[in-house]
Assembly symmetry: C2
Homo-oligomer: 280 residues x 2
Amino acid sequence: MTQNIQHMAQNWFASLQKEICARLEELEHESTLCQDFAPGEFVFTPWQREDGGGGTMGVLRGGRVFEKAGVNFSAVQGEFSRELQDKIPGAKEDPRFQACGISIVIHPRSPLVPIVHMNTRMLITTQTWFGGGADLTPVYPVEEDTKAFHAEFKTVCDQFDPDYYEKFKAACDEYFYIKHRKEMRGVGGIFYDNLNSGNLSVDFEFTKAVGLAFKDIYPTIVRRHYNKPWGAQETKDQLFKRAKYAEFNLIYDRGTEFGLKTGGNIDAIFVSLPPLAAWE
Amino acid sequence: MTQNIQHMAQNWFASLQKEICARLEELEHESTLCQDFAPGEFVFTPWQREDGGGGTMGVLRGGRVFEKAGVNFSAVQGEFSRELQDKIPGAKEDPRFQACGISIVIHPRSPLVPIVHMNTRMLITTQTWFGGGADLTPVYPVEEDTKAFHAEFKTVCDQFDPDYYEKFKAACDEYFYIKHRKEMRGVGGIFYDNLNSGNLSVDFEFTKAVGLAFKDIYPTIVRRHYNKPWGAQETKDQLFKRAKYAEFNLIYDRGTEFGLKTGGNIDAIFVSLPPLAAWE
């Protein structure tokens, strides 16, 4: 049963990668700004992990709408180090793990288009669970966008459990907090981990729905802003926002830590880092 | 005795800050490139720490030679958190500490002028010691510079202990290593910590000599390159080198961790981070 779902989850994450990349490429063709650049295209690079498994890194660089968009798929297995064994559910008894998922970070060219992150994954140790979420990081928060983003994920959550949205929204706010700056990374979204409701098929359906919601709502938000011109001050603000984004990912992000400590692919892990950033 | 040295060390670090800043401003006036910019000047901002003590942050931004140069002095006291108590010598018995020092990171405008870091400090817990070092991070290593930088500090080390240079050079190579990239941050230098030879006055003299050596050798290296023109590829390489510098400081640097975990001044701590950086 678990193996069956794992097989389906891998296929799902891999196909979601392709679909999301196609959607983002559509935006590159639609946009009327930044015509000096050719519409961006994803380049897919497969990679293998020494321990077992691997993935496909998808990156679009230097496009009209997206300066750097990373959409990664991976399906890996291995053994956790002692340090991680203590942190990860079910790993104390047996260090072996299997993990598959999709991980996305998008840095738009325009300071008016929000940065976004989405990740969903399936983990198997002596326990099995799903995790994931999506959160939006605008340089200048726009209420309409924030509401639309949250509403989309609330709709998904409510279809599965009336408590999910409040719980996962709170977890997102708690997780994407830049402690040393005492500020939120962005305007939130949802974040869930160690989700095993007792019915793994349903948890998988929920995870699929989160991915589909992302695929719809992010392009909608991008379209609201991608043809607006901007100035030097906006670019300056964007570069500092990106610097703080890099701080979060390098200091606090568990996904980055997981990747680095399990010998993941550096290029794939750091695809989340901004193409250009500036500390004041 | 210890109190007396502490008092002298504070005064020394504070006066070294002013002297080094004056030296760097001289370079700004000498340089013949980048005349679009006014010669950079240091702005000094005093700050107070809630727990006690504070410092003076010195920053030069947007100069001809230096895009961002941070030269900080601080003299603080407080109590270590449980986590730090276990890591820091003599803190287990009593969490109180006093620390003073100078911390420097310089990001030149030109990709041909090396980034540099220097830090010296005095720490008092139930134990007392000096620590510090200096290391050079060129985008393009030049053998003559590397040799001159190392020779300067070797001369200082040899005046105090024939074993110092080899030991402190090795410690520097070990410390400034970007594990996840399996590469050195730069071309090394010296690094020492928990130095208490039994004669604190002599250790203080050594620390002073390290500061003076830095004050001489870095401007010498800058002068070799600061009037050379450069191109777009060099800038690109510089921005990626700076990104890796930021990775090191955010993920591994103990000084950054110490600052963040002891409620230090964020602006002063992050003055080490590059003005502009780019991940590929």
